[in-house]
């Protein structure tokens, strides 16, 4: 009887020890995880001094069909195609963020290379679609609006190909 009691006590003790170690380890894990989360949160800045997303180009009469304007500060091409419609595409290569350059401004069709990236040799047509090279997708297209005689490009509003044109 006596020995039986000791045994059960021992078993209880082991259970208690196991329980306490589980509680202790989970508490440590929780605190570590929390500390990590707080640190990551601390590391992402809430206020960044960056440019406002919208900028103005114009007046539109100055932009001839089949020409483009490069806005260096925002790194955006504002293009007027042969039909007189406007569109805005990003000049930041989708591959690794280099600035692409317009190498041939006389291109009229969509199948030829108009824009090239100096870093890894990606090539795009005048609508910003990839023709060759490592870029995974086409250049970003931004919404463009008309306000009086000026064009407003909103670099925070990325649109599909159908939506990108502004017909005047």
């Amino acid at each position: 009887m006596c020995s039986y009691k000791t045994e059960s006590n021992n078993e209880n003790k082991i259970k208690r020890r196991k329980f306490l170690s589980i509680v202790g380890n989970s508490a440590t894990g929780l605190v570590t995880f929390g500390a990590l989360a707080v640190t990551i949160d601390f590391l992402s800045p809430n206020v960044i001094k960056e440019r406002p997303p919208k900028f103005k180009v114009g007046p539109i009469q100055n932009i001839q069909p089949d020409t483009f304007i490069y806005e260096p500060e925002y790194r955006v091409f504002v293009v007027r195609d042969g039909n007189g419609a406007f569109y805005a595409i990003s000049a930041i290569c989708t591959h690794l963020g280099c600035n692409v350059k317009w190498i041939d401004s006389n291109i009229r069709n969509d199948s030829s290379v108009a824009i090239a990236c100096p870093c890894h040799g990606s090539k795009f047509n005048r609508k910003g679609e990839v023709i060759e090279g490592p870029a995974p997708k086409g250049l970003q297209r931004f919404r463009i609006k008309l306000s009086d005689d000026d064009l407003i490009v909103d670099t925070s509003d990325i649109v599909s190909e159908e939506e990108m044109y502004l017909k005047v």
Partner: protein, 229 residues
């Protein structure tokens, strides 16, 4: 030489004549943590290891000394960082020389660490019981590359800016966490003031600290795994 001061610093008594004295030099000093009293004659030949690990370590020492000195003339801000580089070049006495030392030692260290790894591989020196020290070595190689890379942004010239742009944009291709990680590294959406400070802290504090700890561990493991003995 046998003054009280000398004896308080160095436990070995001069002159050192017998092998017992020579053993005591190692035995009674901090060196015992790194070197055994006796080593295999073959293991300390140049043709055996080409001293590549040693060379990497000495280059790292040069990098710490020159790096700390360079910090005294450097502000991680735009455009101060670049102006400081110009100052180092034209205004600070021996500034250019110090910057050269730091830059070329860094490049040489990348080469010597890489060669060290190749040497260890072809000698089969990673086999048990040294397998974990090989892993520490691989981590040290990665740390060397990261240190060199974070230092690359600090002059903030065209070379740094675009090399770092290309590198950081790679991070965003990591599935799921890519975008967030890139944002944390840059402290914004593109390289700016925050990025410079982040790279500065990584380059001058966090990475060297980890590096020093791991180097100490690496050396200790060589001794424990029977490196030179």
């Amino acid at each position: 030489m046998h003054s009280k001061v000398w004896d308080s610093i160095f436990r070995s008594k001069l002159p050192i004549n017998t092998n017992l004295d020579r053993s005591l030099v190692i035995f009674n000093s901090l060196t015992l943590h790194i070197h055994p009293v006796k080593v295999r004659e073959k293991a300390i030949k140049f043709s055996y290891t080409f001293y590549l690990g040693m060379i990497s370590f000495f280059l790292f020492i040069i990098l710490i000394v020159t790096g700390v000195l360079l910090m005294l003339y450097y502000q991680p801000a735009i455009p101060n960082a670049y102006e400081n580089m110009k100052d180092l070049q034209y205004v600070v006495s021996n500034g250019m020389f110090l910057r050269n030392l730091h830059r070329w030692a860094a490049h040489l260290m990348v080469i010597s660490v890489f060669l060290h790894m190749i040497r260890v591989f072809y000698a089969g020196a990673y086999k048990p019981p040294r397998e974990f020290n090989w892993v520490v070595g691989v981590v040290l190689l990665v740390l060397t590359l990261l240190l060199s890379y974070t230092g690359y942004l600090l002059p903030f010239d065209q070379l740094s800016y675009w090399a770092v742009t290309v590198g950081v944009n790679l991070i965003q291709y990591i599935p799921v966490i890519g975008e967030k990680t890139k944002f944390l590294f840059l402290g914004g959406h593109e390289i700016g003031e925050y990025t410079l400070v982040r790279f500065y802290v990584l380059h001058c504090v966090i990475l060297p600290l980890v590096m020093v700890l791991l180097i100490a561990f690496h050396f200790w493991r060589i001794r424990k795994d029977g490196g030179l003995h």
